[in-house]
């Protein structure tokens, strides 16, 4: 039987969401799309510096990867990143199989795993001490799935995903700190700016 100490995730460095998000955003030079999941993942994406190609979710917990899949299918030549929390992914685990079947090469998924629902009071998720999200992703058919050992490894995995022949999932262990910023909650403006950023809309 698995115990917490058997799980490879526990051997990875515990990092910080805002720091990792900032490292990702600093690497973006080609108008890559980034989908920020509900709560802290999009708060930190916002705090890392707004970009026109960022989309911030204000609800619909668990849909960061499906939304990113839709963008990736619509614009196969654009790299699409999705930032999702572990609790959110637990809500919509089936999407990993859908993505594994469709195999979009331009999709990089990042799971911020702190084992808690930080935003509601840091209660542990049902998976916290027993489940390995990267192993689940591999089991769903996402062969390019790995835990980032530390910040340098995270950046290396991001680089590697850019030339991967299929979707990539990167798991990162993070601390239980809240998000740094707070996204402006204007859904129509978020969506319209995102579409402008993707070249689907022209400003008038």
């Amino acid at each position: 039987m698995n115990t917490a100490t058997d799980i490879p995730a526990r051997n990875t460095k515990i990092m910080n969401r805002f720091d990792l998000t900032s490292r990702l955003v600093a690497k973006l030079k080609n108008q890559e799309a980034v989908i920020g999941g509900i709560g802290n993942t999009n708060f930190d994406l916002w705090a890392a510096g707004h970009r026109p190609q960022n989309f911030y979710m204000l609800g619909s917990m668990g849909l960061a990867f499906p939304i990113a899949l839709g963008v990736a299918l619509a614009q196969p030549r654009r790299r699409v990143f999705a930032l999702e929390g572990d609790g959110s992914l637990l809500m919509q685990m089936g999407c990993l199989s859908t993505i594994a079947t469709l195999k979009p090469e331009n999709l990089t998924m990042i799971v911020m795993d702190n084992g808690v629902y930080q935003i509601t009071g840091a209660q542990p998720t049902p998976a916290a001490t027993v489940s390995d999200i990267v192993a689940i992703a591999v089991g769903c058919g996402l062969a390019n799935s790995a835990w980032a050992a530390d910040e340098d490894d995270f950046e290396r995995l991001i680089e590697q995903s850019l030339s991967a022949f299929g979707p990539t999932l990167i798991g990162v262990r993070i601390d239980d700190k809240p998000g740094v910023g707070a996204t402006r909650r204007d859904p129509v403006q978020i969506r319209e700016r995102f579409m402008l950023g993707l070249g689907v809309r022209q400003a008038f």
């Binding site: 979710m57 499906p66 299918l73 969506r191 689907v200």
Partner: protein, 210 residues
């Protein structure tokens, strides 16, 4: 029929360059589905052609018995990117992302699948003003044999009404093309979701046949 043919004929009756086309002596069964008049088409031919005319290429779905033929014919047509999802809200997320990226989509589901969508409709499709197009095969009425299905069905219209979402219950083949075509165009131009409920009166529904 290619996508270009379809887009070149926005009026709802894309014509194929066939030498026999001018002859109207074909019986209904000899005509290609796009040559048929509205009343000669099956309901699923109407849906497929309306999707093509409106350049709706992405069709994720959670299957239903009644939708079987439609799903098969969409899979058989290279115009479409179509695949099953694990949950209906996943499909809603996918078509929402795709629309923001410039690719139009529609979701196929059953009544019980719609019942899982209140959260995503209220927190994604409606507030972000996304033209989410849904075809919902209606279980739970007009001959339902599963009590749970009939109860689930009763939750659907109150949810749609509570969000003031456009919805139509499609019961007649002769008006179906009009409803589908107009509803798709309205959803896209007003950036508002629409649910087209496919009644057993239209599709025959699913009956207890053990």
């Amino acid at each position: 029929m290619s996508a270009a043919d379809v887009q070149a004929s926005p009026q709802g009756s894309p014509e194929e360059a066939s030498p026999e086309k001018a002859s109207s002596k074909k019986t209904s069964s000899e005509k290609t589905s796009s040559e048929k008049t509205s009343s000669e088409k099956t309901w699923h031919e109407v849906v497929l052609q309306a999707l093509k005319r409106n350049d709706i290429r992405l069709v994720p779905y959670v299957p239903d018995r009644v939708l079987t033929t439609l799903i098969k014919s969409i899979h058989a047509d290279p115009f479409f990117t179509t695949f099953p999802t694990a949950r209906e809200e996943e499909a809603v997320g996918i078509v929402s992302g795709a629309w923001m990226g410039g690719l139009k989509g529609a979701v196929l589901m059953q009544t019980s699948g719609f019942a899982t969508l209140a959260n995503v409709l209220a927190s994604l499709a409606m507030p972000y003003q996304i033209p989410l197009i849904m075809f919902v095969s209606e279980r739970g009425t007009l001959g339902e044999f599963n009590y749970g299905q009939s109860l689930v069905c009763r939750t659907m219209r109150p949810v749609l009404d509570s969000l003031a979402m456009e919805h139509h219950t499609c019961t007649r083949l002769d008006e179906f093309e009009f409803i589908v075509e107009r509803s798709i165009k309205q959803a896209i131009t007003t950036q508002a979701p629409v649910a087209l409920i496919l009644s057993p009166l239209l599709t025959g529904g699913k009956v207890f046949d053990k």
